[in-house]
Subunit: 373 residues, 2 copies
Amino acid sequence: MQRRTFVQTGLSAGLLGVSGLSARTRPAQAAPAAHPPAEIRLSSNENPLGISPRARQAILSGMADANRYPQARAPLIEALAATHGVRSENVILGAGSTEVLKMAVEAFARPAGRLVLASPTYEDAEWYAGPGNLEIAKVPLTPDLAHDLDAMRKEAVSASGPVCVYLCNPNNPTGTLTPSDAIDDWIASAPEHVSFIVDEAYFDFVTDPSYHTALGWITERPNVLVARTFSKVHGMAGIRLGYGIAHPDTASRLRRLQVRNNANHFALVAGRASLEDSEFVRRSIAVNERGKRIAKDCFNDLGIEVLPTHTNFLMHRIEGDLRRHIVRMRERGIRVGRPFPPMLEYNRVSIGLPEEMERFAEALRVFRQSGWI
Amino acid sequence: MQRRTFVQTGLSAGLLGVSGLSARTRPAQAAPAAHPPAEIRLSSNENPLGISPRARQAILSGMADANRYPQARAPLIEALAATHGVRSENVILGAGSTEVLKMAVEAFARPAGRLVLASPTYEDAEWYAGPGNLEIAKVPLTPDLAHDLDAMRKEAVSASGPVCVYLCNPNNPTGTLTPSDAIDDWIASAPEHVSFIVDEAYFDFVTDPSYHTALGWITERPNVLVARTFSKVHGMAGIRLGYGIAHPDTASRLRRLQVRNNANHFALVAGRASLEDSEFVRRSIAVNERGKRIAKDCFNDLGIEVLPTHTNFLMHRIEGDLRRHIVRMRERGIRVGRPFPPMLEYNRVSIGLPEEMERFAEALRVFRQSGWI
């Protein structure tokens, strides 16, 4: 029995809960065909726990009103305002934080403005700048993978029209932090025509004491928007709910650009319920820490370089072709992250459940034995 | 006991299922306080039946994947394509058909174009034209409440830039039809820079044999988009799902303007399940017919003018101030439609369940006795 076959068999048995039956005793060739292991998704920085039990209950209760246009917008906005110590007028909702990014790019950079962002970073802000024919200035990260704020500032200064600066902190796909104090310094000294989107999608996973939110700016500065999401620590990626917090004038401008009734009924009721479920949030963070540890231990064992992370994903070095690596993982039933040019020597892997990370680690070990990484 | 008090008491008992207890025997003043009747929504053209049982089941089954970014886009698009005899490349999804309208107005009228639409008609197309500073040409309906296509055509011809024509057929809020053949004639002769959004949100309620969809145009003409929704006959207004069908080139252009992941996971799975539930669609239409009959009989009894309708709502004449009428209905626990200027002598009422329409009819009779209508 070859090593690779054994691993597949053992894993499929384990995943399907055939715990009383030793994988070794089962026919090696039959098991994968009869019980192909469920594909695991370590590709999109989702919460492997699912949604909060309270969110689930809210959806069940909300089923009776699913035929009505969404009615529960105000209560969620009030809950979000209370959570962040702001007022309802500061809060805008989106069908995912991606819609908030869309509104912000349109409000801040149009017409004929410039979008300044890191390379690599989360792709959506650049995507939304596309149809408006905006100038796009992509600035490589620093050697320690922070946003290069000095270089970005130069791009902002040299623009003739409005400027929208997109700062993803922690940054996706690298998982790394840009010093909050340095961001504060820039915001403090920026002229009015330079606006900032600070995307804090991974805020809840950060433990670094030097990190802080940019929310402190929104009362005084109409040129700052903070974006947050329910897709990560709240596990609601499929339900589509995100929000932005900004000065009331800015919030009004952005709201005018949203899709009407953009947050669906289930998103509104589940979001509110999940906000109250601090136990679920704690568990999400704890499970993430466990999964991260398993992956990091494996990277260390194998001597694979991995970037420091403050999120629910890891960026690790790949030897050889990235796309081939992704396909090989897929062939083992593991979806890992997409390529993030120009970092094509690295792969992003999202943190799944501990047993999923064991499976990922096992795959890495097999790849090493095959000389692939 | 006054007539008005009796009606409220009787209704609250009935709605709360206190069927064994005669409303007459209960203390008149206590009942409304202890058991205020549930507010009924006859305000937003929703389906009073709720969602399809199959949609409900799909949501329950889909709960396990609510933490994942929406995965079920392709199967829904394929099902929609099969339903309409088109290809997947013709179909675009929206978070409600309102997002499809947004994309279409942006794609067809920008930059510096003109939106031509009826007055009154559904408000969203005009709303989305707002931030782009487009020219807006509002053309009054004909005396028989069809779109005035001749007058609209003149507005299209006189424009210097691109033109987006919005045709809501049947029209909201009037419920009336514009002859399909006349729309065809215009589309057949229109130049390329004149594009058409044909909003067929209420398609499924139409029985008039002269009515037909504009879908026949989309293969040949890139300047035609047909918008449909799951909010009406499918009862999914809260779940946010709509779609557009257009030439592949047009569909691609519009898709570029959508919010990424705009249709949520529950919308995708429930929409697909509801498409297969023809029994639910039939029942929705039948219940609508029953409710419409109750309202029409009451309008006839009271000699109140009501417009012919081909939808799930009715537009009826109001004597006196419309806003006061809306408030008085609200005070009786009935939400009716908002004002649709310039038709401020009419109120729109959505068709609810038969018992809800009985309650609405009873309110009208009380209003008549009070000399209010």
